[in-house]
């Protein structure tokens, strides 16, 4: 017997949706037979706006592209401009950048942890993890002057040097986070019901991953060892010691475990950075921003963000303003075509969990 199909609008106003987007679901019983993503609710036309802004003015605006984790955007634009210009970045700035990126990765994972278990109905984890993430935001506030939008990394280095005693604070926070991780393990990752909810759901196998252009933790979750930090080390990642965890299975659980292991790696990277950080300059000054002409050229740069590979294609025509800044966030691939594909056959209970585990982040899909 064929069940009657119902149309279900999952979003944009829906507590289970990540951000502001909509998935139009056709369901038969509890099973999804067709999914159609609708994005564009957060379209602000960044790429158009950047055509109207000078290079320097573009820096405060790019970080808004991805709300939970703004730093890879700044890093990407900065690196792209530096590549076009051939500008050197002081060693210290590179270390600081890595620290910022890893801190933001940790923060993003804490937020993800909250989202993943919150959508599963385990409301204690978001309360903890978002609260613990706040300690990282405190660090950001002290370092960059902003909690969410840091506007800290820019062409030539970083905006300000570390404040006094900052390294100790970072280490202290890292110790705290490390001491908290076992508690999360007990509550979330060891949780029998959570495992039941996550295992075998939203499976992406290796071939599918390659076919659909999956990146980041979902890719590593299906056993492919690919991480921009290793394959094309930017900043000082080649001088740091870390491993890229991979899991077989390609389900929500594998992706969750990849992220869980990467949290430990991030903590270790941050500790190494603090230990190895050299002194000296932190900023190789660009010309006065009102008259900063970037020579003609193009650059494609990518950064490993918490959700995967973040790519920027930047073209300069030699003027004050960028010709084109094209942003491809990981969610651009995950959140539209892949999601539509993977949701077919899934249970409606799992839609939110799948979206979370793929790291769907609407603001970076539509920019």
């Amino acid at each position: 017997m064929r069940e009657k199909e119902t149309t279900l609008y999952f979003g944009p106003q829906h507590p289970g949706i990540t951000g502001n987007m909509m998935v139009k679901l056709k369901v038969a019983g509890d099973t999804i037979v067709k999914a159609e993503t609708h994005v564009g609710y957060l379209h602000r036309a960044f790429e158009k706006l950047m055509e109207r802004r000078t290079w320097m003015q573009s820096f405060p605006i790019v970080c808004r592209i991805c709300v939970p984790e703004p730093d890879p955007n700044e890093e990407n634009l900065a690196r792209a401009v530096e590549e076009i210009e051939g500008r050197e970045v002081p060693e210290r700035a590179k270390y600081i950048r890595v620290m910022v990126l890893e801190l933001s990765r940790l923060a993003a994972y804490f937020l993800w942890m909250g989202g993943q278990s919150g959508t599963a109905g385990l409301y204690t984890v978001p309360q903890w993890s978002v609260g613990d993430r706040d300690y990282i935001l405190d660090l950001f506030e002290e370092l960059t002057g902003g909690r969410i939008y840091h506007m800290y990394i820019w062409a030539g280095g970083v905006r300000r040097d570390l404040p006094e005693g900052f390294a100790d604070k970072v280490l202290k926070t890292m110790d705290y986070i490390e001491s908290r991780l076992p508690e999360y393990d007990k509550l979330m990752f060891d949780n029998a019901i959570f495992q039941k909810r996550a295992q075998g759901i939203g499976v992406i196998d290796k071939d599918k991953a390659l076919e659909w252009g999956v990146v980041g933790p979902p890719l590593r979750g299906c056993g492919i060892k690919h991480d921009v930090r290793k394959d094309e080390p930017y900043e000082v990642y080649d001088k740091l010691d870390f491993v890229v965890p991979t899991y077989e299975g390609g389900d929500i659980w594998a992706r969750a475990m990849v992220r869980r292991k990467e949290m430990e790696q991030s903590i270790s990277i941050i500790r190494q950075v603090i230990e190895k950080m050299p002194g000296g300059e932190y900023y190789n000054k660009v010309p006065t921003p009102l008259n900063w002409f970037v020579p003609p050229g193009e650059a494609y740069v990518k950064t490993e963000s918490a959700r995967g590979e973040f790519g920027y294609y930047v073209v300069s025509d030699g003027s004050l303003k960028p010709r084109r800044v094209h942003v491809r966030g990981p969610a651009y691939v995950h959140g539209v075509s892949l999601l539509e594909n993977i949701l077919v056959g899934a249970n409606i209970s799992d839609v939110a969990m799948i979206m979370n585990s793929l790291g769907v982040c609407p603001p970076e899909i539509e920019r």
């Binding site: 564009g40 109207r52 590549e83 659909w212 193009e298 494609y300 094209h326 491809r328 539209v336």
Partner: protein, 195 residues
């Protein structure tokens, strides 16, 4: 020096041997740039995917070169095996913006093509999902085209809060005081014209 780029140079060599009209060059480590005629793009991409192991379409971009009346389509391919990124570029006519889809090679290309259809008005033949994507009920020219003025559009369509009309221009205030008269040909060089 060449030793560092052994993989890259080999790939460039292979490309040049297969596609004689391709302009392939090394950009930097891990990056090669390939420029091609637009009709060679579909065979090239399928060749790159199947024979050069560029199995990941990392990025697909479009640049509006309004001066040349052309759109530049940029396919950025990545090979997990070789760890090389190939930036494949071609130009198409801006007036009659049409191209073929590559969604049969990489599934995510569909999303990019939908976006460029909406934002640049490029028609990708073979892609049957060129529907409304990001915008809703858009009736102006495609917004990412360079001749679309977002400031103008914003001014015409949206209401801005009043109360800021008393703003002065520093240069004007100074010239008013000193009696300086800026000739018309110099006015465009006032830095205030940044925006």
């Amino acid at each position: 020096m060449d030793k560092d780029f052994i993989n890259e140079n080999k790939t460039i060599e292979e490309i040049k041997n297969t596609f004689h009209s391709a302009e392939a060059k090394l950009q930097r480590k891990n990056r090669i740039i390939v420029k091609l005629r637009s009709d060679l793009i579909p065979p090239f991409l399928s060749y790159a995917k199947n024979y050069l192991s560029f199995d990941h379409l990392a990025h697909f971009s479009c640049v509006d070169w309004i001066e040349d009346n052309q759109f530049e389509l940029v396919y950025i391919l990545y090979s997990y095996e070789k760890n090389i990124i190939a930036i494949v570029k071609t130009r198409i006519d801006r007036e009659k913006a049409e191209f073929v889809t590559v969604k049969h090679l990489w599934r995510q290309a569909e999303t990019f093509e939908r976006e460029f259809h909406e934002m640049y008005g490029i028609n990708f033949t073979g892609n049957n999902r060129l529907t409304e994507f990001i915008l809703e009920d858009w009736d102006d020219i495609p917004p990412m085209r360079r001749d679309f003025d977002t400031m103008q559009y914003s001014k015409e369509n949206f209401y801005t809060r009043p109360g800021r009309e008393d703003a002065q221009d520093v240069r004007e205030v100074i010239t008013k005081k000193s009696g300086e008269k800026i000739p018309d040909f110099a006015k465009e060089f006032s830095v205030r014209k940044l925006k």
